[in-house]
């Protein structure tokens, strides 16, 4: 006897049914508004925590230390629960991922549910009469009225359906397909943003690069300092060099008006010139070079008893009230303080604060407090004797510590962001709505009745009513039915 096919109630199919039930139940949960509301409430709560608790990613280390010392127990709790780095915490990223997944599944559900399906006209003359929708008299005969009404709407995104019921003509215009595309675009764009963010984090390059006027630096790992992240995928872009020709500053009434860096990108035979400013970084091969810190760099040639000990640029990284300074360790010799004092300090003017203007470049070596004593001002090209060394100030230039940033996910992310905006505009520019016009004959003309259906109130319908009213020579204000 042939075996009976397994019935749905049989064990073999029962477990399959349970799996489907679980999956369906999971999808139902993920696509429910309650779930989205809970996740959003969680994100809002975490954002409030991120406001109240100092974040390590935003504050300098010394400020975080101050906070930890001031509130040790709070800092300990915050550290244990990752409240001091909440935006990088696993639970925050999980909440964001859950919201993204919910949005995508909801979008899929709406599209799969046949949101693009054509809907049948929703009103008959009998139904219009039943609903008590007022009929308005117009002077046009029904055929002309129907023709003029149909001609009134030429927009490609409005679809017209015509039908007749006895002597009554019905025209229904429906819109919103364009808007539905916009909705899908906007929601899917959220995923594009997420992809861009993930790609960005895998290809993130965050480092600094010191470059002095007149210097050319071959871009690569060796040129970077202060590395905070290197790309996990793709590696550090290479094969080109950047040169800094000149840094220039513009002051107005003692305030910095502008800072420009004339730079060149050298890639094989190709030379690309760029004027870099704040807000206008140098970008090449997906890497951005941003103007950040600036300081003075002194070229010191050190000799001892006629023998060359060193010829180097010393970047003066410390900023003091008097100017810029740093300590230079002479090879096999003492540590030598080096200072550059800008014009404004030399002139002892308080109002003219122009730290990057140096009309007579000069440097000071040593300090009054140390056994070395203070030597200076030493002008460019001049030599001074200090600590048994002959130190020549060969040059004073400016250097820039440029922020080097690479993020291959950025174009993806920007595309996603603008698609969200474009999709949202499309959505609301063409909201889903229907306007139904019924025309029936009467002596001397016809009568018209109108009903609108929309989930967006009068948005979009009002314009259609006015267009229709102009075509028929009467005012059209239709009662609106909530779009269910």
């Amino acid at each position: 006897m042939a075996g009976r096919p397994l019935s749905p109630a049989s064990g073999g199919e029962r477990s399959g049914g349970d799996d489907r039930g679980l999956a369906e139940s999971l999808i139902a949960t993920l696509t429910s508004t309650r779930f989205a509301a809970v996740v959003m409430a969680a994100l809002i709560t975490m954002s409030v925590i991120g406001l109240a608790v100092p974040q390590a990613s935003l504050l300098p280390a010394k400020d975080m230390d101050l906070w930890r010392r001031a509130y040790p127990w709070a800092a300990e709790v915050a550290a244990a629960l990752a409240f001091d780095r909440i935006y990088n915490s696993w639970y925050f990223l999980l909440a964001v991922a859950a919201l993204m997944l919910s949005v995508l599944l909801c979008t899929y559900k709406r599209v799969a549910a046949g949101a693009f399906r054509r809907r049948t006209p929703f009103l008959s003359a009998r139904a219009a009469a039943k609903r008590g929708i007022p009929w308005r008299k117009i002077d046009l005969d029904p055929k002309t009225a129907a023709r003029q009404a149909a001609a009134a709407f030429k927009a490609p995104w409005l679809r017209a359906d015509e039908s007749t019921a006895g002597t009554t003509r019905m025209v229904t215009w429906s819109g919103g397909r364009f808007g539905l595309v916009g909705s899908v675009v906007a929601h899917c764009a959220l995923a594009i943003v997420a992809v861009g963010a993930v790609v960005g984090s895998l290809t993130s390059l965050q480092a600094d690069m010191v470059i002095t006027e007149g210097q050319t630096v071959q871009v690569g790992r060796a040129a970077f300092g202060g590395v905070r992240s290197l790309p996990v995928l793709g590696g550090v872009p290479q094969g080109f060099a950047v040169a800094l020709d000149k840094l220039a500053f513009e002051y107005k009434k003692g305030l910095l008006e502008g800072a420009t860096a004339d730079m060149r990108v050298l890639e094989g035979q190709r030379v690309i010139e760029r004027r870099v400013r704040v807000n206008y970084p140098l970008e090449h091969k997906g890497v951005s070079f941003l103007l950040s810190q600036v300081g003075y760099s002194t070229r010191l040639v050190v000799r001892k008893e006629g023998r060359l000990l060193d010829d180097t640029f010393v970047n003066l990284k410390q900023r003091y009230a008097q100017g810029f300074g740093d300590r230079y360790r002479v090879p096999g010799g003492p540590e030598l303080p080096v200072f550059v004092v800008p014009d404004s300090r030399l002139a002892r003017t308080e109002s003219a604060r122009t730290p990057y203007i140096l009309t007579r470049p000069a440097a000071y070596l040593g300090s009054r407090e140390s056994a070395l004593g203070l030597v200076g001002p030493l002008e460019v090209g001049k030599t001074a004797k200090i600590a048994g060394l002959d130190v020549t100030l060969a040059d004073v230039r400016l250097y820039s510590v440029m922020m080097v940033r690479g993020n291959q996910g950025r174009p993806i992310l920007y595309t996603g962001l603008w698609l969200i905006v474009a999709g949202a505009i499309m959505r609301f520019a063409d909201p889903r709505r229907e306007l139904m016009l019924a025309i029936r004959p009467r002596r001397g003309g016809s009568e018209v009745a109108c009903l609108g259906r929309s989930a967006y109130g009068r948005m979009g319908l009002g314009r259609m009513e006015r267009t229709l009213g102009r075509a028929l020579g009467t005012e059209i204000v239709s009662p609106i039915e909530e779009d269910g």
């Binding site: 954002s47 991120g50 974040q55 990613s57 807000n279 950025r410």
Partner: protein
């Protein structure tokens, strides 16, 4: 700051204060003529307010887009401009003055507590993306504020309507009205609340403004991210202002989904519009309350061109 500017600023604050009192009085005591005077006072205050902005622009030699003081006074001006446009187009919307004008007064009051010195127009501020970002921020602030005002009007009218059992949903006849109730309904429609737009109209207008605010909020976030990358090399740093602008955008996005997908309407949706205003207020004001934010260019060390000179 020049004495002319301060004179115009304080003149507008004083007259706004007067307008706020009149507006609240007009609504609480249901006196439409008092409300009309509130609108007139708002128009009067708007003039010195605009004048102060013009003076500020002239004194600074650039658009007033820099610093919390400028952003709050322009944001307040944008709210009033939006309110005046709304009440001119839909005169019955003047009831929103009872929320909009006091909120503007609070905003200006806050700006009075912060320094009005003209900040240096540092290279960091010289960006078309920044100007776009700030302009859309003002529009967003104004739009959401007016949404909250309309939502508050809806809540008040709903409350008033319940007391006379009028089915105001379609301005049709009251269901099951008795002769006495019909009389109450007549009196209601002839009275103060009858001249306030019907609840569906308030809901419709609130929805439109949320849509506008949602779009401008999105553009504000995007342009801000682009500017942030060009300035700091990072398009998103979970800065307090950035985070709250995103939270606000998500909150109004939730509002739209609740209305369009779950067909929410009525008081619960109105309450969301009112409460969500906290988000945008945090973006504009809350920046002062947090220990760190890039939006004040704190934590920028000496020699950094993006911040201090």
């Amino acid at each position: 700051m020049s004495s002319y500017f301060m004179a115009l600023f304080w003149a507008s604050v004083i007259v706004y204060g007067f307008a706020a009192v009149l507006a609240i009085w007009g609504v609480l005591l249901r006196q439409e003529r008092v409300l009309d005077w509130a609108v007139r006072c708002t128009i009067i205050a708007f003039v010195p307010h605009a004048g102060a902005l013009v003076l500020r622009w002239a004194a600074a030699g650039r658009p007033p887009v820099v610093g919390p003081f400028e952003n709050t006074i322009v944001g307040a001006w944008a709210i009033i401009l939006g309110f005046l446009i709304l009440s001119r187009r839909y005169p019955r919307m003047k009831i929103t003055a009872a929320v909009a004008v006091p909120f503007v007064l609070l905003t200006l009051g806050y700006s009075a507590t912060i320094s009005s010195a003209i900040p240096a127009y540092l290279p960091a501020y010289k960006s078309n993306w920044l100007i776009t970002h700030v302009v859309f921020a003002w529009i967003t602030y104004a739009t959401y504020s007016l949404t909250a005002a309309i939502a508050a009007a809806e809540l008040l009218k709903t409350r008033a309507t319940r007391h006379v059992f009028v089915a105001d949903a379609d301005e049709g006849a009251a269901e099951g009205a008795t002769a006495g109730r019909a009389g109450a309904e007549q009196a209601f429609k002839a009275g103060f609340w009858g001249r306030v737009p019907p609840i569906p109209a308030l809901q419709d207008m609130a929805f439109r403004l949320v849509v506008l605010g949602f779009l401008t909020n999105a553009v504000m976030i995007v342009t801000g991210a682009i500017w942030a990358y060009k300035l700091w090399g990072s398009y998103w740093a979970w800065d307090a202002v950035e985070t709250w602008s995103l939270v606000t955008w998500l909150a109004y996005g939730l509002y739209l989904h609740l209305k369009l997908t779950l067909k929410w309407s009525g008081p619960r949706l109105a309450w969301i519009a009112v409460v969500a205003l906290v988000g945008i207020a945090m973006v504009f004001w809350g920046v002062q309350l947090v220990p760190s934010t890039y939006h004040l260019f704190r934590q920028m060390g000496a020699g950094r061109l993006q911040g201090l000179q």
